[in-house]
């Protein structure tokens, strides 16, 4: 097991292997940096940081879109024990104000002394700088690339428990939490990914990634893991991929890349965009791993991708569903590298009623859940009930983790850290079950919506919808449903409005404007019919359940809702109903 800094330090003289940046030398001209050059580039940045007076443990915010500038700036900080805070650049249409607010909130938690950005992005960020009191100066990536005046610093000997960097969650939230990723976490998780998960070898494998570099899968999976294990990698600017998704497969073809990762939505997008003549031209037969993670995996999307790319020689076994989260550094489980996509069909009725994942009988309503494989040697995974008892196979509960990859907690947030752990186990907030050590993720306890790889907090969308004329105050509920390709947003709300169509149009427009989220459906129901707790709080999970099984809004007034609850209780002593009882009696 080797950490990022010692690995990088060992690359003096490694001139053959390295990183390639598409368009890094201008349009159409790719830039190659050998690992030897990468080490030197990181050292140069470290010298500039040291000259700016930064010392071990100081935070450095990094907002740099281009990989060829971002990676050396990030590694240079690790080199001398600084704590980089990578953040996403402002690249969406017309969202500058919201971006700035989120940026200021995050950085006022991280309290960096320096912000590293590019000259061009810096101009846009300038108004935010004055709102971050800890910031002493802004250094551009152009300045960092210059030859430093002083000597190149030696790598510091980092401790395993020392914080390497802070990973803020990708969505915007009122109180952002920064996951502390230690040097020991990085060594453990990149080892698990490369050695156990991918069985990868830097002499044979090439990674291709368009993933954002500020995000765990892009940064840890496709930059730091390759750094630790000397795997040549090719980077596509994220925006280039979003604008032209086929560039991803084109690059795998051109550079003979054989390892790549992406969230579910990217597979849907590229399947939609790839033209038959491109597919006929591509050779994807050498690709060993098309990893899929970081948002719920839709088996239909995956099958459509495999079918569409069959003419390019794609091996169905290349698909590699995986499960991970920032709090576990990145990877939690992978399926075996030579296994095809496997799913489990479980009885829908028993899942909802008994919290049991019983194999579905032919003809009965079934849920299809993707097998996300096993966790790695030295990593433990269990499914626990609300009281922290470990559940047997095929019982639905919360996925919990214990390993050297698990974060010590959130940056200067002991309360959130305490809430994330129980009896030494990290609570993932994901619902699922185990079968012979293989994990199946069926939903989320935390009400986070994940769409196109980004996290959204339903409360914030609900607050917006609540303010729309025609919507009953405090009645909006937002959740996701499985879409054709990825998860889709559904808004449910109570309304008395005569013109329901106008209210729906307004909801779609406002949510879209504020969050750049497409609302797939708006369900307007009569006042008093959305499921609430005894204290009048809306129940998001229950609303979603009713929406999905077609009973939303049919409960009638509160009396009927109570009757429905009583019936629900009578049907089952376990599962969801038990939650209701606890809430009713304040348990």
């Amino acid at each position: 097991m080797i950490g990022v800094v010692p690995a990088l330090d060992s690359y003096e003289g490694e001139h053959v292997r390295g990183f390639t940046f598409l368009g890094g030398k201008g349009p159409g001209a790719d830039l190659f940096l050998s690992f030897h050059e990468l080490r030197l580039a990181a050292q140069r940045r470290a010298a500039h940081y040291a000259a700016a007076g930064l010392v071990r443990g100081d935070r450095v915010a990094v907002i740099v879109p281009e990989g060829e500038h971002f990676i050396p700036a990030f590694l240079g900080a690790l080199w001398i024990g600084l704590i980089p805070v990578p953040l996403y650049p402002p690249v969406s249409l017309g969202k500058l104000d919201a971006f700035m607010d989120a940026l200021v909130t995050i950085l006022n938690v991280a309290k960096p002394r320096v912000l590293v950005t590019t000259e061009r992005v810096g101009k846009v960020l300038w108004p935010a700088v004055g709102r971050i009191p800890s910031l002493e100066r802004v250094i551009t990536s152009e300045e960092l690339a210059r030859e430093p005046a002083g000597p190149l610093p030696k790598a510091v000997a980092v401790r395993d428990d020392e914080v390497a960097f802070l990973q803020f969650t990708s969505g915007s939230t009122a109180l952002p939490k920064g996951v502390m990723v230690t040097h020991g976490n990085l060594a453990a998780n990149t080892h698990a990914i490369v050695v156990h998960g991918l069985k990868a070898d830097g002499a044979r494998d090439i990674c291709v990634s368009w993933l954002p570099l500020y995000h765990d899968m892009g940064l840890i999976g496709c930059v730091l893991a390759p750094v630790c294990h000397a795997i040549p990698s090719v980077y596509i600017p994220t925006l280039s991929f979003i604008k032209n998704a086929t560039l991803w497969l084109e690059t795998l073809h051109k550079y003979r890349g054989n390892l790549t990762f992406a969230p579910n939505f990217a597979y849907a997008l590229v399947t939609k965009r790839a033209k038959p003549e491109q597919i006929a031209r591509w050779d994807l037969s050498h690709v060993r791993v098309f990893g899929c993670g970081s948002e719920p995996i839709n088996p239909h999307t995956m099958r459509a991708f495999v079918d569409a790319m069959a003419p390019a020689g794609l091996k169905p076994s290349a698909l590699l569903p995986c499960y991970g989260m920032a709090e576990a550094t990145l990877a939690i489980s992978f399926v075996g590298v030579d296994e095809p996509l496997r799913t489990d069909r479980i009885d829908e009725e028993r899942y909802h009623r008994e919290a049991t994942a019983a194999p579905a009988a032919n003809g009965s309503a079934a849920l299809e859940i993707v097998n996300c494989g096993r966790t790695f040697p030295g990593h433990e995974m269990s499914v626990q009930d609300d009281d922290g008892r470990i559940l047997p196979d095929r019982q639905i509960g919360e996925i919990c983790l214990r390993s050297a990859s698990v974060t010590p907690g959130y940056w200067q947030d002991p309360e959130a850290t305490r809430a994330a752990f129980r009896n030494g186990w990290l609570r993932t907030g994901d619902l699922g079950y185990l079968v012979d050590g293989e994990v199946f993720i069926s939903g989320r306890i935390k009400d986070i919506l994940i769409v196109n790889g980004r996290n959204y907090y339903p409360q914030r969308i609900e607050w917006l919808v609540d303010d729309i004329q025609g919507v009953r105050k405090g009645s909006a509920v937002v959740f996701t449903r499985p879409g054709r390709a990825s998860e889709e947003i559904v808004v449910a709300a109570e309304s008395r409005a005569e013109d329901a169509a106008a209210v729906k149009t307004e909801i779609v427009a406002r949510v879209s404007e504020e969050f750049q989220l497409a609302v797939a459906d708006v369900a307007l129901v009569a006042p008093g019919t959305l499921p609430k707790t005894s204290s009048g709080k809306l129940q998001r999970r229950k609303t979603r359940e009713q929406y999905l099984n077609g009973t939303l809004g049919r409960a009638g007034r509160n009396g009927n809702a109570r009757l429905a609850l009583a019936r629900h209780l009578a049907l089952s002593l376990v599962g969801r109903a038990r939650h209701e009882v606890r809430k009713l009696f304040g348990g």
Binding site: P65, P89, P90, V91, S92, L93, G94, K95, L96, F99, R120, V121, K123, V124, L239, I242, K243, N244, F265, L269, V451, N452, V508, A509, R510, S512, E513, E514, Q516, L517, A518, V519
Partner: protein, 86 residues
């Protein structure tokens, strides 16, 4: 002289091609983010314009584009030798 480039009409065509979306009521002052397209579709639409007009909108300018007219003004500025409808 070639016809003036009508960004509103182009936008309608782009929204249909990229996102299968018909926008008969689109106006210059329409805020793009209210059209119900997600962020990926919007970036694909930007790319569609870049390709059709053979230009590139710098990433850091994207944040300033709110309305269809903002988009028109940006592309008109980036292609000074072409004629755009108001």
């Amino acid at each position: 002289m070639a016809d003036r480039i009508d960004v509103i009409e182009m936008f309608k065509q782009a929204a249909f091609e990229v996102d299968n979306r018909r926008l008969p009521d689109l106006k210059g002052e329409t805020v793009i983010a209210t059209l119900g397209m997600d962020s990926v579709a919007i970036m694909e639409l930007v790319s569609w314009f870049e390709e059709k007009l053979s230009l590139r909108i710098p990433d850091e300018e994207l944040g300033h584009i709110r309305t269809v007219r903002d988009l028109r003004d940006t592309v008109a500025r980036l292609a000074p030798d072409r004629q755009f409808a108001a």
